[in-house]
């Protein structure tokens, strides 16, 4: 017993190179994948139109639009936060995109400015939450209302058409690469970067730590405020990226763009298995979650379920996903 000294420190085990991730709850994604596959089978059976190339492309585009915002939401929820302002940030950015482009700014510069604007709005959320100590729910709720007001003010309540001067810009929302819509590629890249950040960087590890136990994170030497701040900036940037795609696709900057998307994003994140209690979950689940919701909406559209009824179903699914998590936790704890 007395030989627990530095001599026993030598371990024969050397690095086997690729260790399993130290982050918890990866395997949940597999189960979700089966849910998605099952849904697709049901969809194909219910409506032959589901597997049409045009319909599949349409669904993929939908996945991409909601997915990008949801990736940002996943970062926020991993820290045990919430971002209700993504829809409004999207709206402001959509209006500003249209104003800048019709004002004659170059496409590249416009994209840069709009992404920066998303970052700034996210940063305001982050500052209010970390320095001001405002609970995320309230801070982003305020930003949600303010942002929408700002979008409507800037646009004077009217949609702003792009005209036909900006064909280059259309590529973002309407173009294809290898027969796959550009937004889907963007979503793919965003997801890969996000997965990399969360699983292979120190910052990603700290995001999980802050969400798991804020006090322990602080005592472990983590700059909790900086980490928290960063996720709201990420969420803001991804909302503005979605705004660019949105405007490009519709060729209109609507001040009401993105209304309600925060709820979709929260639903997707939760369905994807990211815990509202923080610290657990990840991007892979979010991707599948986005696909599940998009396929479900598509089925209902194809079958002719009214949009009103669709809302009921969506709401029930959100509650169901959280309920499932609660049951899983209860089982795990006993």
């Amino acid at each position: 017993m007395t030989n627990i000294t530095e001599q026993t420190a030598i371990t024969e085990r050397t690095a086997d190179g690729k260790g399993r991730s130290l982050l918890s709850s990866i395997p949940k994604g597999a189960g979700l994948l089966w849910v998605l596959v099952a849904l697709c089978v049901v969809a194909a059976l219910l409506s032959p139109a589901f597997l049409n190339a045009a319909n599949v492309t349409n669904v993929l585009r939908q996945v991409a639009l909601f997915g990008i915002v949801s990736v940002g939401m996943t970062f926020v929820i991993l820290t045990k936060g919430i971002d209700l302002s993504v829809g409004s940030i999207l709206g402001v950015c959509a209006v500003v995109t249209a104003l800048l482009l019709t004002g004659g700014m170059s496409v590249a510069l416009t994209i840069l400015v709009v992404l920066l604007l998303g970052a700034v709005l996210g940063a305001v959320n982050g500052l209010g939450i970390t320095l001001g100590g405002v609970p995320p729910f309230i801070m982003t709720l305020g930003m949600m209302v303010m942002g929408r007001g700002l979008a409507l003010t800037l646009a004077e309540g009217q949609p702003i058409g792009l005209g036909d001067r900006t064909m280059d810009f259309m590529w973002l929302g309407r173009g294809y690469v290898l027969n796959i819509p550009v937004p889907v590629w963007i979503f793919l890249i965003v997801s890969l970067v996000a997965i990399f950040v969360l699983r292979y960087t120190a910052h990603g590890r700290r995001i999980h730590a802050v969400g798991s136990n804020e006090e322990a994170a602080h005592l472990s030497g983590i700059n909790v405020k900086l980490v928290t701040f960063s996720v709201y900036v990420i969420s803001g940037v991804l909302a503005s990226l979605t705004a660019l795609i949105y405007v490009s696709r519709l060729t209109v900057g609507e001040p009401t763009a993105g209304t309600g998307i925060e709820l979709e994003a929260i639903a997707i994140t939760v369905i994807g298995g990211t815990s509202l209690f923080g610290g657990e979950g990840g991007i892979f689940g979010t991707i599948i979650g986005a696909a599940i919701l998009a396929v479900l909406a598509n089925i209902m559209n194809l079958v002719g379920v009214s949009p009103f009824t669709q809302q009921i179903v969506k709401g029930a699914i959100i509650v169901g996903a959280v309920l499932y998590e609660m049951l899983r936790r209860r089982k795990g704890s006993s």
Partner: protein, 513 residues
């Protein structure tokens, strides 16, 4: 039915004047997936006795008590309570029968008042069906007076001390006419005077015929308050007997399955330079002008009653709480420590008092918890080299003998002792040469305690680490520390050398001048 009721009587303790076991759990079996938690456990408590239930973490104590409270259902076996066979009763039914379990984490609604907590779910009504507040508060007061204490019944529970909250829990049990009260580690949160008061309450209730099951890691308390002891190990009863037939040594041996000839490792300290010097530390009314220093290779103990400012001292040094005044020198030069992050960068590690809420990320893996405080070591341009990290984690796990299936196992599933080893591994990973550790063995079983002591001693002797250790367990302070600071009301009232210190002396400085 008659026959089954006869069965337990045969083995009943003949020394009891009347044949009056209040509780008899017979042949209890319980399995969880992959684990046989309880094997053929028979446990009985006589009316009016305080019966200690001891054993290492994971021995099955809480499982047994959860079966008793109705939270779990036994796979096999029977429970007689107060002469009746109870089968598959729900927690609510067990409460009705007169069984109250007081867990370490109280199940109180902290924003409600003392009276509401005592009579939760059973608030008295007026004839209009509204709550009879006046009656409620009078009843609550009566209930508390019976236990020999008095708190204004309308005080919100959140404003009470931990000791007072525990009393409220007991008052609730009494108001429910409990005949058997299970106290799960009641002393973990109490100082010595508070413990005395708890004992007085237990004794007076005992005189009224209430029985207790007393779960504790502190054997001294077992000898102070209990009349019988049952030892569980690996889900089996090792031995159950009257207190007179036990000694501390035989208890420990029954718990860990081997004799512990020498509980504390031998100490051959070699002191180096002063690595931490604190002078004139002040924080509000909690810390009043504290000064001391710590040398390399030294274990400096800090003791005192609950509320003396021990934990606050550690938190203030690492920058978790702000200082009003004070000077901190690390390795001879003055430093400002504004956050735990700064402390870690200066080589000061901190293992806080409450592992679950402050020390660990319970939902994350063992490895995650160990490396989180210094990820920079494995990162190149912020990108983690997972292979290097994993091999380092595995080296800590084998060095500190952390019993875990994998390094990816959730840390929340490990026993207290193994969790604590991970907390220590975390400090090693952070490469600290000053370790501030608060209650190093709280909630840790006897076997793992000894291992943790050996680790701490080894760190000072082979690495020249300096350790500042806060503990409420005086034997641990006396057995490990080279020097001891005694605190009282935010001040250091004595500094004692290893040879001059004794429990009596420490208690004298901890309570009055």
């Amino acid at each position: 039915m008659l026959q089954t009721l006869q069965a337990p009587r045969e083995q009943q303790d003949i020394s009891s004047p009347r044949d009056d076991a209040i509780l008899r759990m017979a042949d209890i079996e319980k399995s969880f997936p992959g684990v046989k938690a309880l094997r053929n456990v028979t446990f009985s408590v006589r009316r009016g006795e305080v019966h200690a239930l001891v054993g290492e973490n994971g021995a099955g104590k809480s499982t047994l008590m959860k079966i008793l409270s109705g939270a779990y259902r036994a796979d096999n076996g029977s429970i007689w309570f107060d002469g009746e066979l109870t089968r598959h009763s729900s927690p609510a039914e067990m409460i009705d029968r007169g069984i109250a379990v007081i867990y370490q984490e109280f199940s109180q609604a902290s924003h409600l008042t003392v009276a509401e907590n005592i009579f939760m779910n059973r608030l008295p009504r007026t004839r209009f069906g509204t709550v009879d507040w006046k009656g409620l508060n009078t009843d609550a007061l009566g209930c508390m007076r019976r236990l020999g204490f008095e708190i204004e019944p309308t005080t919100p529970v959140a404003r009470l001390s931990v000791a007072q909250r525990q009393m409220v829990e007991i008052a609730r049990a009494i108001s429910q006419h409990a005949k058997l009260i299970v106290l799960d580690e009641p002393s973990a949160v109490l100082g010595d005077t508070e413990l005395e008061r708890l004992f007085a309450t237990i004794r007076s209730l005992q005189a009224e015929g209430v029985s207790f099951v007393y779960i504790s890691h502190r054997l001294k308390e077992v000898f102070d308050i209990c009349q019988s002891v049952t030892v569980l190990r690996d889900g089996q009863v090792m031995k159950s007997d009257m207190i007179e037939s036990w000694t501390t040594a035989s208890l420990i041996q029954a718990m860990v399955g081997r004799p512990l000839t020498e509980f504390f490792p031998p100490r051959n300290p070699k002191f180096g330079d002063e690595i931490l010097k604190v002078s004139g530390l002040r924080r509000g009314k909690i810390l009043k002008d504290l000064s001391f220093s710590l040398r390399a290779g030294e274990i400096l103990g800090v003791c005192g009653l609950a509320g003396a400012g021990r934990s606050e001292l550690l938190r203030a040094i690492v920058g978790a709480d702000a200082l009003d005044a004070g000077r901190i020198e690390v390795h001879g030069s003055e430093k400002t420590i504004s956050s735990p992050r700064r402390a870690i960068s200066l080589g000061i590690g901190f293992a806080p008092e409450d592992r679950k809420t402050e020390g660990l990320f319970l939902g994350q893996s063992v490895g995650f918890n160990i490396t989180i405080s210094k990820l920079e070591k494995f990162a190149r341009a912020n990108v983690l080299r997972l292979g290097k990290e994993k091999s380092e984690i595995e080296s800590y796990v084998s060095r500190l003998r952390v019993k875990t299936p994998k390094v990816t196992t959730r840390i929340g599933t490990l026993s207290g002792g193994n969790q604590q080893k991970c907390v220590i591994a975390k400090q090693l990973n952070a490469e600290c040469d000053v370790l501030l550790i608060d209650e190093p063995t709280r909630g840790v079983d006897v076997g793992a305690k000894r291992e943790i002591y050996e680790l701490l001693v080894a760190f000072t002797e082979t690495r020249g680490m300096g350790i500042l250790m806060v503990s409420s367990e005086l034997p641990e302070i006396l057995g490990l520390c080279d020097r001891i600071l005694v605190m009282r009301d935010g001040e250091i009232t004595a500094e004692l050398g290893r040879d001059e210190a004794s429990e009596e002396l420490i208690m004298r400085y901890a309570t009055h001048h």
